[in-house]
Symmetry: C2
Subunit: 187 residues, 2 copies
């Protein structure tokens, strides 16, 4: 076995950056290669199924991160509910680079024959709503109200990313995170 020239983690960073910025169709193999420091053929060695497998791999990695850092934080019984919300929101801030980064769900939801990630995006959003609903209940909201606020939380985060990018002003994202925190903690 010959040693890898580029670490898997560095390669994933490069792939993620391009897919996030350009979407699935918009990301060309040339850009993916340049961004990782590998040549096209070397990417195919690591991903025999090509571009689709690269995208899936990026999607899965972020999905895993979100599960561990956001969903798990929200459900972590060793912390008080109020601390869980704060930690989850801090990790959301990290995930989106303080409002500079596009959501990978959204980047992959546009182009392509789509059905590629359609189901996984739906599942991700449902899990998102479920875990925010749980924390709402832990904070003594009714189940109905907790779900309402969970959906509203997802809507506001996605919307603030769209608007922050459009206006090139990340303050909108920060304001939104604070609004969400206040909604959960001051009632």
């Amino acid at each position: 076995m010959r040693p890898q020239k580029i670490l898997d983690s560095d390669m994933m960073t490069g792939l993620t950056k391009v897919f996030r910025d350009k979407g699935y169709e918009g990301a060309s193999l040339k850009e993916l290669a340049d961004s990782t420091g590998l040549k096209k053929a070397s990417l195919y060695h690591r991903f025999p199924n090509g571009k689709q497998e690269m995208a899936q791999s990026v999607f899965d990695e972020i999905d895993e991160w979100v599960k561990n850092r956001i969903f798990f934080s929200l459900r972590d019984k060793s912390e008080a509910p109020r601390a869980r919300i704060k930690k989850a929101l801090d990790n959301i801030r990290l995930l989106y680079g303080g409002g500079k980064e596009t959501c990978i769900f959204r980047a992959f939801s546009m182009d392509a024959g789509m059905s590629l990630f359609e189901e996984q995006i739906k599942n991700g959003m449902e899990e998102w709503i479920a875990s925010f609903t749980e924390i709402g209940i832990a904070l003594h909201l009714t189940a109905g109200r907790a779900k309402e606020i969970a959906i509203q939380t997802l809507v506001e985060i996605q919307g603030s990313l769209v608007v922050a990018k459009g206006l090139r002003n990340t303050a909108i994202f920060e304001t939104t995170l604070r609004r969400i925190e206040n909604r959960y903690l001051n009632q």
Copy 2:
């Protein structure tokens, strides 16, 4: 002059559908041709500058619609402020097909060398916020609070479109429109 086989308005409908669903890079000339009923070369006869001009034309048409039906409604002094909000929200519902359609700003914001529409999207969002700020002031909010709510309105609409599409559930969009209406009218 030989007669047009396809009316401009029907052609625009076809172009709009493809660009909205696929984004700029995702829309191929073959799809654009099929969707309009014209052949590729005929599209080039009508748009000598090619795909970019087609996209610009779609963008401009929607931009115009939004100016007339949403921004103008909000500022129409011949109507009471409460009626203006209701009319604007009805037109927003129409614009997005009750939550089924993607926002063209968002469809064009992802791929490409981007700078294509970046500035026009920014301007559109700024006008959006400005006109909703005005209606807030007409409803006796302070200027600061009116702007806050205007931004929040844009964030919620964009977010609800993203989430409604991801979950394939337009109810989220409808709920959001009602929330916005209540925020303006019940205070």
